[in-house]
Amino acid sequence: MIFMMLQEAWSAMSANRLRTFLTMLGMVIGVGAVILMSSIGAGTQAKVKESIASMGSNLFIVLAGSMTSGGVRIGSGGVQTLKMNDASAIEELSSIKAAAPVVPGTAQLVYQSANWNTQVSGTTPAFFEVRDWPSEEGSVFSDSDVRSATRVAVLGKTVATNLFGDESPVGKTIRIKNSPYIVLGVLASKGQSLDGRDQDDTVMVPITTAQTKLFGSQFKGVVRFIMVEAVSESVMDKAEEEMQVLLRDNHKLRPNAEDDFTIRNLTALANTAAETTKAMSLMLAAIASISLLVGGIGIMNIMLVSVTERTREIGIRIAIGAKQRNILLQFLLEALMISIIGCLIGVCVGIGGAYGVSAFFPISVVITQSSIVISFLVATCVGVFFGFYPARKAANLEPIEALRYQ
């Protein structure tokens, strides 16, 4: 019976090919747009997620500066108020897992005939823990390297490639600002940061080496910023408060004085970025699904025309014993068939379009199974929903009136 009805629906569809095709086109475009848009959305989200994951989790950055000097307000990092002991004090807090002081600078690196200008940061081994950044080759420097300010370096992936090519840098000696440094290891690749910087274009040296030998700060033990990792996401707010109290205390600030440091919750910032891309991809999908709705209305329109056109046929069927549900099912099936076939083509168009977009534009796309499944379900619902009214109209025809219809 159901096979017979399917055949029936198919033959009704093929009786008016152009019209069926145009009706289907509505669904094809609708489903295609939904899949394409949600792939672009998912691609962007995946990229942001990757960047966030590469940043490390539950992260704070404590920046020096933000002080007022004679009415002139100086921005973060403008003054040197953070010290090494601030970092070690922060690390003592119960809500803090690790804190790594950082002294950044730039320097020219030379290895044999190759040279490369990059960011050189002095830090402690805690940095690699906070940023969740293991070495890919060799190892990172240790606390004893920091204590004795040895001339050792850990290279980012980009730097290693630029200086050494295919050669392994571990154990080799490079020159930073004309002083020799032994390469201990190469860090695993992190890729781009949220703002598009290449995170692998960097070199790490022990912070003491950077302070005393490389950049030679005039104040001993001064750091530019401290990267801090909290124990867990739930203690982030508490950690921020504790750090503020601690630093104010350490810096002996009066109760009415402004903070001479800035604490930034990087994880919250990243989450905001993630939320924004999520909202953006939802909006894309929502706009695309409007075309799905329009496609559904197209189906309803054509089904209504079809019912009117075939009133006499319906009359004949009813006269020879078709029950209401037979007629209802026949037209419902036809609407469903148009929307499902349209949806299948639309899925192909959407996937093809997504690949096309990623091939011709610098946009990353991720085709999610859920977008296919959801658009398929929605298309089916659209078929049933918009097919139901015309089908019921057909099923409710009075036999005698339907037969008389010219």
Binding site: M1, E313, I316, R317, A319, I320, G321, P399, I400
Partner: protein
Amino acid sequence: MAEVIRIEALTKNYHTDAGEVCVLKGVDITIQSGEFVAIMGPSGSGKSTFMNILGCLDKATSGNYFLNETDTTTLNKDALASLRNHVIGFVFQGFNLLARKNLIDNVALPLVYAGIGAKERKVRALEVLKSVGLEAYATYLPNQISGGQQQRVAIARALINRPKLILADEPTGNLDTKTSQEIMDLFCELNDKEKITIVLVTHEPDIAEYSKRLINFVDGRIQHDGLTAHFQASHV
């Protein structure tokens, strides 16, 4: 002989812009199994309306209609559809075949709604097509055969579910004299051999002549109900 149709005090009103129009004004008829009844009457006498009510395509305003001893006035749409499918075979003036389907599928259509499988449908459709002499055209479309042949297909479709009763509404109205005779011979044969009760509406006296009993409608009432020969004699 069992009665197939019993109609008591049947009336039918239509609502029109001009007000209530009374088309049937109290009709009482009993038709026994195996009868061959012709219904005549001038245009507007109510004979077609009566026929539609007999075929369960239309509902009476008041009165009772027992088909096969079932009171049809109490039945819902689906039960009526089932009656049309199993008990009645309908033959229309305009054939009413489905243009997109070949003859086999047209003939087998009632069996689809009777819930019969594809194989059996085909076998039975070929069987009835053969009985009306059209098995050679089984895969033709309706517009590829003549009007007389189309009406035979329509009769085959009416026969396929082995109905007790065939209702024909001016079945020869669109056909020439010779083809009309062939169609009427077919009806006579069905009546004689298969003992199928036949009720047909016509306005041609020579078509009515094939019947044994004649009911003449005038202005929504039965004016004559008796042997066809008697009526023809009184109207010559």
